[in-house]
Amino acid sequence: MLTPQLVMYEDEVRRIQAVADRLQQDSRSRAILVVDKNGQLVAASGSASELDTTSLSSLVAGNVAATGGIAKLMEEEEFTGQFHEGKGLSIHITLIGRRMILVVLFDKNTTHGLVRLRVKKASVELESILEDVAKKAQTPQQNVFAEITDADIDNLFND
């Protein structure tokens, strides 16, 4: 299949989480989300537990996809950054390595400038982690789901 599964192992998730935690503190932002381009949440930091991160991830991914569509129409390779300014809360969205989306939610406690600066540093770190994820994906790993039986699948639907 053209697009293989995205598999994240504990080691990489831990490293991504560490980058998100540090970014949240360094940028003095409210929350950080790291979202796969297809809308799956990979890591969250800060006050993310107060948010509906599943919905947010899906909408952010939709937003980035739509922006990518606009870029294509305008023959621009990609718009890698987006900024939504609100009265109390603002959102800074950055595309990382064409695969992940880094979302920073921030309020008056910080400035857009500081957020951008810190995001730049975090982006480089995340890119290198994503390269490791891609490398790992190329070496065959054990498929833990190969052992799934029809009964396992049927059991999911017994309600």
């Binding site: 299949m1 598999v7 994240m8 504990e10 381009k37 990979v42 939709g62 699948i153």
Partner: protein, 195 residues
């Protein structure tokens, strides 16, 4: 493209409901949402116009339970059915794991069904997918209406590859969960192959 997270021990899969305008894609999701226990579902999001026509997509996250210690989550999406929203439809197909084609059984919508199915094939091809290799089911919706085409005739035209097919009345829920279960099973079976 399923997403397996070993850290949180979760499998996430994306299912897309496709079909012509007003065929009942959103109604399918609404019924699933209404009939699912609160702890197994997230918020349903509809990006719709003021007249409740889908503008970008509907989104419904479902959690099905555990399989081999991994929580299985399905993200259900619909596409906007209206012809002129084609650019949006293409975006929503990105990373899809399984497709449900919802056909409108009414005689007068036959042409729209055919056009939408062709559009589905074209858009998948553009994204590098082949409908014949993806988990895929067909639903014949609106079976309660007076001017419906017999299922055999619908199947001849809309399901030549004989994938699992279901009769449905999405407004009352007939066939809705059967369709979803059949698709989810195919997706999980694909996962077993390491798809």
């Amino acid at each position: 493209m399923s997403f397996i997270n070993y850290s949180s021990r979760e499998i996430n899969c994306k299912l897309v409901y496709y079909g012509p305008g007003l065929c009942g894609k959103t109604t399918n999701l609404q019924y699933i949402y209404n009939k699912t226990k609160p702890d197994a579902k997230g918020k349903m999001i509809s990006l719709a116009t003021e007249t409740e026509r889908t503008l970008f997509f509907d989104f419904l996250p479902l959690s099905l339970g555990e399989i081999r210690g991994f929580r299985t989550r399905f993200h259900l999406y619909t596409v906007p059915g209206q012809v002129f929203y084609d650019a949006s439809r293409k975006l929503i197909l990105k990373g899809v794991d399984g497709v449900c084609f919802v056909a409108d059984s009414q005689m007068e919508r036959m042409e729209a069904n055919i056009e939408s199915l062709e559009n589905l094939r074209d858009n998948l091809t553009e994204q590098g997918y082949d409908l014949d290799k993806l988990p895929y089911v067909v639903q014949y919706n609106k079976r309660d209406l007076p001017s419906v085409v017999p299922v055999e005739e619908l199947a001849d035209v809309l399901n030549p590859t004989k994938v699992p097919e279901f009769e449905a009345v999405a407004t009352t829920g007939i066939g809705v969960f059967d369709t979803l279960k059949a698709l989810a099973k195919q997706v999980l079976t694909e996962l077993r192959k390491g798809g």
